[in-house]
C-alpha cells in the first residue's frame, strides 16, 4: 500500500466517528480561545528557551511502530524522537543526520556511511555501527513487515561494520547511484540494538531532536528537547506538544484560536485563512495517480488512456485539488525536485480536438474507484469526472469507498483490481516508483502494466552514475511512460503549512519523514 503522506482521510465510514465528535470539538475549540496561549499539559516542565511548539496531528491509525507504520501521523510521532542516517532537503539535496558523510566504492557495489562522532540516543548511549546494522537487519529480514523493505529488496546484499568501527558498509547486489536517497525514507529510523519495533512506544528511545515523554492514544503526545541530539544546540524549542484531531474544522478552529501553532494547507483551509497567516511551502510530498488497469477494456486500448490524459485541465487540478500548492505533471512519475528531469516530452494540456482525434465519435463510459476523505482523492475524482464529462467523449461514474474498503487486504482489493483507480503515492525516487508502480509482477502494480523495454532501461538507469547517460535513459523511460500512460500524473503536491503568530523561523527541511521532521531554528513565543 502506498504511504499516506498527507492528512489521512476523515470521511467515509470513519466520518461516523469524526463527525459525531465535531459538535463537541467546535464547542471545545471555541471555549479554549481565551486560554489558548497556554501550552498544553506536559509542557510546563519544558517552558523555557524557545518555548513549546503546539502541534496538531490527525489521530494516527494503527500502532506506533517505527519500522512498520505506513501512517503519516504515526511517522510524525516517531520521527520527532528518531533520526535517519541522512535527510533530504526540500530542494532534493542530501544532508547529514546520523551519518556525517557517504561515499560510493570504486566498483559501485558498496556505499560506506560514516557515522556522526557525537551521535547519541536519547538515553545517552552512542549510536554505533551495530545499531545501524541491527536496524537494517530488522528492515531486511525475511519476516520483516516494514514498508521500507521493498526499497532495498534486490539492491542491498548485506550491511556490515566498516573497518574503523565508526562506519557502516552497505554492499549492493547491483550498482545503485541514488542509494543514499533510500536512507532518507520512512521506516529507516535508527533504533538502538535490540529494540523491538512493536514495543517501541512503551520505551521510545531514539536519536531524534526530542524525547517522547507521554503518549496518550487518541489524545496526543508530549516531547521535551533531547539534549543528546547530535546537533542539539540548533534545536531552540524546549518541547513539542501534539494534539490529535479527527476533523478538519475542529483543527482549523484550534489553529485560529492559537491552540496549535500550525495547520496543513488545503483548499478549505486556504479559503478560510487567506493571507492572514504566514505560510511555509516545503518539498514535494505526493502525487495522486490515476491508474488504468491496462488488461481491462477499454483501457487495454492505449488511445483511450491517451485520450483521458489529453482531456484533463492540469492547472485547474493543481489549483482546485491542491489549492495551488502543486506543480503540473506530465504523466511521468519523476518528482520536480529530482535531479534528473525528463526532457523532450510534449506537455499535455486539455485538448478536446486531440481527444476527438483519438476516440472518434466514441463515448467511453467507465467508473473511477477511489476512497472518501479530505486527502484530495475525493475532490480529485469529482474534478476529473467534471472535466472528462465536459469533453462529451466520456461518461464517468465514481465509486468512492471507505479507505478500509479501498485498501482491503484481499486478493480482489479494489485499489489493485478496479479498472480505474486514484491512489496517492509519496515522494520517492523515480526508480523506486518504477519498481512499485510499473514493474512487471510488482505487488502494487495496479495498472498490471508490463513492458520489458522499460524494465531494461530502468535497470540501466539504476546502475549508471554518468550524468549524460542518466539523462538519456531518463528521457527514454519517460517517453515510454508518457506514450503508454498506464498512470496519469496530473500534478505533484507540495507540503504547505500555515504557521501561527507565535512561531518564529522557518522549518529548514519541511515537515516530512524524508526531511527528518526538523525543528532546528524554530522558536515559539507563547
Amino acid at each position: 500500500m502506498p504511504l499516506n503522506i498527507s492528512s489521512p482521510p476523515k470521511a467515509g465510514r470513519r466520518a461516523v466517528v469524526t463527525t459525531v465528535a465535531v459538535a463537541f470539538a467546535l464547542v471545545l475549540a471555541a471555549c479554549s480561545s481565551s486560554g489558548s496561549k497556554t501550552p498544553s499539559s506536559g509542557s510546563s516542565s519544558a517552558a523555557a528557551a524557545g518555548g513549546v511548539y503546539n502541534l496538531g496531528l490527525n489521530t494516527p491509525t494503527g500502532s506506533i511502530d517505527p519500522l512498520t507504520t505506513a501512517d503519516f501521523n504515526a511517522m510524525y510521532v516517531v520521527g520527532l524522537a528518531s533520526a535517519n542516517l541522512i535527510i533530504e532537503s526540500p530542494s532534493g539535496k542530501l544532508e547529514p543526520q546520523l551519518a556525517s558523510s557517504w561515499t560510493q566504492a570504486a566498483d559501485k557495489l558498496s556505499w560506506t556511511i560514516d557515522l556522526q562522532p557525537n551521535a547519541k540516543f536519547s538515553n545517552g548511549k552512542p549510536v554505533t555501527a551495530s545499531d545501524v546494522i541491527y536496524t537494517f537487519n530488522q528492515i531486511l529480514g525475511a519476516s520483516s513487515q516494514s514498508p521500507a523493505k521493498s526499497s532495498f529488496t534486490g539492491i542491498v546484499k548485506s550491511v556490515a561494520a566498516g573497518s574503523d568501527g565508526k562506519s557502516v558498509v552497505f554492499t549492493l547486489d547491483t550498482p545503485y547511484s541514488d542509494f543514499p536517497y533510500l536512507l532518507t525514507g520512512a521506516n529507516t529510523w535508527i533504533l538502538p540494538s535490540g529494540t523491538k519495533d512493536t514495543n517501541w512506544i512503551s520505551d521510545p528511545v531514539g536519536a531524534g531532536q526530542f524525547i517522547l515523554e507521554k503518549y496518550t492514544p487518541g489524545q496526543g503526545v508530549t516531547y521535551k528537547k533531547n539534549p543528546y541530539y547530535w546537533d542539539a544546540s540548533a534545536v531552540k524549542v524546549s518541547g513539542v506538544s501534539a494534539k490529535f484531531f479527527n476533523d478538519d474544522q475542529s483543527e482549523l478552529l484550534a489553529f485560529q484560536s492559537g491552540q496549535i501553532d500550525q495547520i496543513t494547507s488545503d483548499p478549505s483551509i486556504k479559503a478560510a485563512l487567506g493571507t492572514s497567516y504566514r505560510q511555509q511551502r516545503a518539498g514535494y510530498v505526493k502525487f495522486d495517480g490515476l491508474v488504468f488497469n491496462v488488461t481491462k477494456a477499454p483501457f487495454n486500448n492505449v488511445k483511450v488512456r491517451q485520450a483521458v490524459a489529453w482531456a484533463l485541465n492540469r492547472p485547474a487540478i493543481a489549483q482546485t485539488v491542491y489549492s495551488g500548492n502543486a506543480t503540473v505533471g506530465n504523466d511521468v512519475p519523476t518528482f520536480p525536485d529530482y535531479a534528473v528531469q525528463p526532457q523532450g516530452l510534449t506537455a499535455r494540456s486539455a485538448n478536446t480536438a486531440k481527444v476527438k482525434q483519438l476516440l472518434g465519435n466514441q463515448v467511453i463510459s467507465f467508473t473511477i474507484t477511489s476512497y472518501q476523505g479530505t486527502q484530495g482523492e475525493q475532490t480529485y475524482a469529482q474534478l476529473i469526472q467534471q472535466q472528462l464529462d465536459a469533453t462529451g467523449s466520456f461518461k464517468v461514474k465514481l465509486n468512492l469507498l471507505t479507505e478500509a474498503a479501498y485498501y482491503a487486504t484481499t486478493s480482489s482489493t479494489p485499489w489493485l483490481n478496479a479498472p480505474v483507480t486514484i491512489t496517492d503515492w509519496a515522494n520517492r525516487l523515480p526508480t523506486q516508483l518504477y519498481s512499485l508502480l510499473y514493474a512487471p509482477g510488482a505487488t502494487w502494480n495496479a495498472s498490471h502494466y508490463d513492458n520489458s523495454q522499460l524494465d531494461k532501461l530502468n535497470k540501466q538507469y539504476e546502475a549508471t552514475t554518468d550524468q549524460a547517460e542518466r539523462q538519456t535513459l531518463a528521457n527514454q523511460i519517460a517517453q515510454i511512460q508518457w506514450t503508454d500512460v498506464p498512470v496519469i500524473v496530473a500534478a505533484f503536491e507540495q507540503s504547505d503549512v500555515y504557521l501561527g503568530q507565535a512561531v518564529h523561523g522557518s522549518f529548514p527541511n519541511g515537515q516530512q519523514f524524508n526531511g527528518g521532521f526538523d525543528f532546528r531554528g524554530i522558536t515559539v513565543s507563547h
Binding site: 470521511a11 467515509g12 465510514r13 466520518a15 461516523v16 463527525t19 459525531v20 465535531v22 478538519d248 474544522q249 482549523l252 483548499p267 478549505s268 483551509i269 479559503a271 478560510a272 487567506g274 482546485t320 472518501q372 479530505t374 475525493q378 475532490t379 475524482a381 469529482q382 474534478l383 469526472q385 467534471q386 472535466q387 464529462d389 465536459a390 465514481l398 465509486n399 468512492l400 471507505t402
Partner: protein
C-alpha cells in the same frame, strides 16, 4: 339493501366533515405556508431537470458568492449551489417519501392485525416492536447501512423497517379503540371475514391517524436520510444530496458560507414544514 343505504349515508356523512376540516386547515396560516413549502420542494424534485439545471458541471467560478450571476453562489468545485440545492430535493424526497410510505404500509398493516386479533398475535408483535423501538434509531440505521449498503433501494427498505414499529404501535392503539364500537360487532355478526373487516371497516376509521403518522414519519425520514448522508453513509459524491453537501462544505463555512447554509435551510425548511403540516392535520382531525 339496508346495509348499502347505511354505507352510502355514512360515506356522505364522512365527506361533509372532510370538507369542513379542509376549510379549517386552509384557514390556518401555518398549514398553508408549510404546505406551500412542501409543494415547492416536491415541485423542485420533480422538475429541476426540465429547467436545464446541472448540479454537476463546473461553472468556471469557484466559491463565487451569491449574486446575479449565480443566485446562490458556487461551491469549491465551481458547481451552482442553486442547482445543487434544488436537485438535492430529489434524493431527500425519494428516500424519505418512499421509505415513509413503506413504513406506513408495513406499520399500519401490522398495527391493524395486532389490534384486531389481540391475544398472542398482539403480544408477539408488541414485544418485537418494543425491542425495535427502544433501539436508538440512528445507531440502528448506521449498523444496518454498514451491513446492507447505502443504495437508494436499500435506504428505502431500511427507513421503512426502522419507522414501521412506531407507526404500528399507534395504529394498534387506534384499532383497539375502534374494536369496541358497534360497526365492528355488526360486521362480525354479518359474517364478514377478518381481512374484510380490517380492510373495509377498521382502516377507513383509523385513516386520519395513519395519515398523521405518515406525515410525522416523513419529516423524520427526511431528516434521517440527510443525517446518514452527512455521516457519509448515504449518498456518495458527486450527489447533490443535502446531507452530503453540508458535510462536504462545512469546512468552507467561514469562507463560502452559502455552500453550507442554503442546503441546510433546504433540509430544515422541508423537515419543519412537513412537521407543521402533520401538526395541523392532527389538531384539525382531533
Amino acid at each position: 339493501m339496508a346495509v348499502a343505504i347505511t354505507t352510502a349515508a355514512s360515506a356522505e356523512a364522512r365527506a361533509r366533515p372532510g370538507r369542513r376540516r379542509l376549510r379549517a386547515l386552509l384557514r390556518r396560516p401555518t398549514f398553508v405556508v408549510s404546505a406551500l413549502i412542501v409543494l415547492w420542494w416536491v415541485g423542485a424534485a420533480a422538475t429541476w431537470r426540465l429547467f436545464g439545471l446541472n448540479p454537476y458541471v463546473n461553472t468556471g467560478h469557484i466559491n463565487l458568492a451569491p449574486g446575479w450571476h449565480q443566485l446562490l453562489g458556487t461551491d469549491s468545485l465551481g458547481r451552482s449551489v442553486f442547482a445543487r440545492t434544488l436537485a438535492g430535493a430529489d434524493t431527500a424526497l425519494l428516500v424519505g417519501a418512499f421509505g415513509c410510505l413503506l413504513a406506513t404500509v408495513l406499520g399500519s398493516a401490522l398495527g391493524v392485525i395486532a389490534g384486531y386479533f389481540r391475544g398472542w398475535v398482539d403480544t408477539a408483535f408488541m414485544r418485537l416492536f418494543d425491542v425495535l423501538v427502544v433501539l436508538p434509531p440512528l445507531i440502528f440505521l448506521i449498523v444496518v447501512v454498514e451491513a446492507f449498503g447505502a443504495s437508494v433501494p436499500a435506504l428505502i427498505v431500511i427507513i421503512g423497517v426502522v419507522f414501521a414499529p412506531g407507526i404500528a404501535r399507534i395504529i394498534r392503539a387506534a384499532v383497539l379503540a375502534e374494536m369496541g364500537k358497534k360497526y365492528v360487532t355488526t360486521a362480525k355478526v354479518q359474517g364478514e371475514s377478518a381481512a374484510r373487516i380490517m380492510a373495509r371497516e377498521l382502516v377507513p376509521n383509523v385513516l386520519p391517524t395513519i395519515v398523521i403518522q405518515a406525515t410525522l414519519s416523513l419529516a423524520a425520514a427526511i431528516l434521517m436520510t440527510a443525517t446518514l448522508s452527512f455521516l457519509g453513509l448515504g449518498a456518495q459524491p458527486p450527489s447533490p444530496d443535502w446531507g452530503l453537501v453540508i458535510n462536504e462544505n462545512r469546512v468552507y463555512l467561514e469562507s463560502a458560507w452559502w455552500s453550507v447554509v442554503f442546503p441546510a435551510v433546504a433540509v430544515g425548511s422541508l423537515v419543519v414544514a412537513t412537521q407543521l403540516v402533520a401538526d395541523n392535520l392532527k389538531e384539525v382531525w382531533s
